[in-house]
């Protein structure tokens, strides 16, 4: 299926777009179509984790990645509405069916890429991310099987919380290490809870959030927010941690204020870094000292999203300004003209390409968060222009 004919902006009765919006929509369309190609590269079942001629010399495309396919589902559904082309949503629903086919009877979903003959072992974080897709498919189609699968997965997550540590200690990406970005597992659990109202799911999610909140330092940094305890954190995992806090806070209403505050502290520290240095670093340590020789493009897109979500809540347009700067940085590094369709529209892990995060690769989640950020930025700008009419 080719969706390159999609018309950005179709079906939206808005003010004439600004020059930036026109560019933004073109960039979003290119990335959305790249996501479609990443699914086509896997025969329509799952989205290839990344494209890289260095890491995958024969095909270029990596095997499908259930985790990120999960949250790409919600992006494609959203983009279908944004572009006015329903085919993105149809493709997304097929991916949700594929996710269900991977689910264990106890609700767990697999970690890692699906490259080998056997299904990889279950993963806490990846299960959480796939819940997003199942919930989005349910919202879009109204079909019960999707929310049932999400409910089962959330129950598995709730059962897995370690009673003593108040966090998950098994089925981790790095054995024995509980990362702070597990906040982004609590968020999908709360998404499920908000629909099925099973209190145990909420209780366990809040429990983990409280544990991780205890890891936050006065400067906003959070212990264990990186892929490993000793390393500085890529903005990718920092943004995961922040978003988990802020969306959980939103779903918990008044009970979630302290989690919102935690997200604001992270977001504010990084916003100042961007404004004072002119761009975001690729990674930050716990003293918020940045590694500025490269930028994690995924992190840029995610932080842009987080800031815009905070802006929606408090109408602090400084956050929107920072988000647009972070996003523009990524747009400048996305090729719209490459003759290689696997590079055209793709977003690299790092800028420069040899930066530390996903070196010399174009991950599907970078394109996902980029499309999400473009759509949200466009909506903000539309609203501001509507104010002007």
């Amino acid at each position: 299926m080719t969706l390159t004919q999609a018309t950005p902006g179709a079906g939206r009765p808005t003010a004439k777009p600004t020059e930036f919006q026109t560019r933004l929509r073109a960039h979003a369309a290119a990335a959305a179509d790249w996501l479609v190609r990443s699914i086509e590269a896997c025969g329509g079942s799952g989205s290839a984790a990344y494209y890289s001629r260095l890491f995958r010399p024969t095909r270029g495309w990596a095997p499908p990645y259930p985790e990120t396919t999960g949250y790409i589902i919600e992006t494609l559904i959203d983009y279908a509405g944004f572009s006015g082309d329903a085919r993105y949503a149809e493709l997304a629903v097929r991916q949700a069916d594929w996710i269900i086919s991977l689910q264990d009877p106890d609700g767990a979903l697999p970690g890692r890429l699906l490259g080998g003959p056997t299904k990889p072992p279950p993963s806490i974080f990846n299960t959480g991310q796939m819940i997003f897709g199942l919930v989005a498919a349910h919202e879009h189609t109204g079909e019960k099987r999707f929310i049932d699968a999400a409910h089962l997965a959330a129950r598995w997550l709730a059962r897995g919380v370690d009673e003593r540590d108040g966090c998950w200690t098994r089925h981790a990406y790095v054995g024995g290490y509980s990362p702070a970005y597990y906040t982004r597992v609590c968020w999908p659990m709360l998404e499920v809870w908000s629909r099925v109202r099973e209190d145990e799911i909420r209780a366990q999610a809040v429990r983990v959030l409280e544990t991780i909140l205890g890891w936050q330092q006065p400067n906003g940094a959070v212990r264990n927010w990186a892929f490993s305890a000793a390393a500085p954190a890529f903005t990718h995992t920092i943004a995961y941690t922040m978003r988990g806090f802020q969306e959980s806070g939103r779903l918990l209403g008044g009970d979630g204020d302290r989690f919102n505050q935690a997200a604001v502290r992270i977001g504010e520290a990084l916003r100042r870094s961007l404004e004072l240095r002119g761009r975001l670093a690729g990674a930050y340590d716990l003293d918020l000292k940045g590694r500025y020789w490269y930028t994690c493009l995924t992190g840029n897109c995610q932080l842009a999203l987080n800031w815009m979500r905070l802006c929606e809540r408090w109408d602090d347009r400084r956050l929107l300004s920072a988000a647009l700067k972070a996003l523009e940085f990524v747009m400048k590094r996305q090729s719209l003209t490459s003759s290689n369709p696997a590079v055209r529209g793709a977003i690299a892990g790092s800028a420069p390409l040899w930066g530390r995060y996903l070196t010399l690769r174009y991950p599907n989640w970078a394109a996902k968060f980029f499309v999400d950020a473009c759509m949200l930025a466009d909506r903000h700008l539309v609203r501001l222009l509507e104010d002007a009419r």
Binding site: E19, G278, L320, S321, A322, L324, E328, L384, L385
Partner: protein
């Protein structure tokens, strides 16, 4: 009063206006504190804040041939050229203005250099009027009897930092210039008074800035007189009450320009802040 005027670049029209007009109001202006344009730190700050394209444009504007008339000048400068013409000020460089009013130029790579501070002390300066040149540190702020006077292009404490008048308009707030004394924070010093910009259809952001600069110059002159006469009492502001803004992202500038072209920017409120409080943010 003995007054020193700071200066950010050799063709700063508002510095020229201030030098002439302060002298015309009967105050002594023995010193102009000018920062060198091509300092490494300054260039780095410009590049980080503006990006190299805008930084080049800014440098060209500041170092290029001076416009001779308001019609010839970019719209940001036109308001000040009109102002100079209106007051029959012929100088078009700070050097010429210094010569005309008898001020000594003290050039340094930073206004915080020891030589600048010493010059302020040696000349027994009562008040420094800030007219550009970068962030000031405590020793210079405390070097004169009354401190350093600044015209900030936005309401304080609500709109601290960069592009304050643009941010005000983006929030639908009527832009003002606030005259205040500088302290160690960013736009956190005691406030003397504020002056509203005229409610009008803005022809774009450069026009807004140009008019803001002119209102700022007049405000500074009145503040100098008021401080000399002891008729104004600076009102302290609380650091935690305000919000610091940075350079506005280009897409928001585009939205603002669109609003201006639609005539919406003039239809703003009476200077009150319209945005809600943002809990938990570190405000500085």
């Amino acid at each position: 009063m003995r007054i020193a005027v700071t200066c950010g670049y050799p063709r700063s029209l508002h510095t020229i206006a201030l030098l002439h007009r302060i002298a015309a109001r009967g105050h002594a202006v023995p010193l102009c504190l000018r920062v060198r344009v091509l300092g490494y730190k300054r260039l780095r700050a410009y590049l980080r804040q503006l990006g190299w394209r805008k930084a080049l444009l800014r440098a060209r504007q500041k170092l290029g041939r001076p416009a001779r008339s308001a019609a010839e000048a970019p719209s940001e400068l036109a308001a000040m050229i009109e102002y100079l013409d209106q007051h029959k000020i012929a100088s078009r460089t700070v050097g010429a203005a210094c010569a005309a009013v008898g001020a000594r130029e003290c050039c340094a790579s930073s206004l915080n250099d020891a030589a600048v501070i010493q010059a302020v002390r040696d000349e027994k300066i009562d008040l420094v009027v800030y007219s550009g040149g970068g962030i000031l540190r405590k020793p210079l702020i405390e070097a004169s009897a009354l401190g350093v006077l600044n015209a900030h292009g936005g309401a304080l404490p609500g709109f601290r930092g960069m592009n304050a008048s643009e941010w005000a308009l983006l929030y639908g707030v009527r832009p003002v210039v606030t005259i205040h004394l500088i302290d160690a924070g960013i736009d956190t010093g005691p406030i003397l008074f504020e002056r509203a910009l005229p409610a009008q259809d803005w022809r774009g952001i450069p026009h807004l800035r140009g008019v803001g600069t002119r209102v700022g110059v007049e405000g500074l002159l009145d503040a100098v007189d008021a401080l000399a006469a002891g008729t104004v009492q600076p009102r302290p502001q609380r650091r935690e009450d305000g919000r610091q803004f940075f350079v506005m992202a280009a897409p928001l500038v585009e939205v603002l320009e669109r609003r201006m072209s639609a005539g919406r920017a003039a239809l703003c409120g009476a200077g009150e802040l319209v945005y809600p409080e943002l809990p938990g943010l570190t405000r500085s």
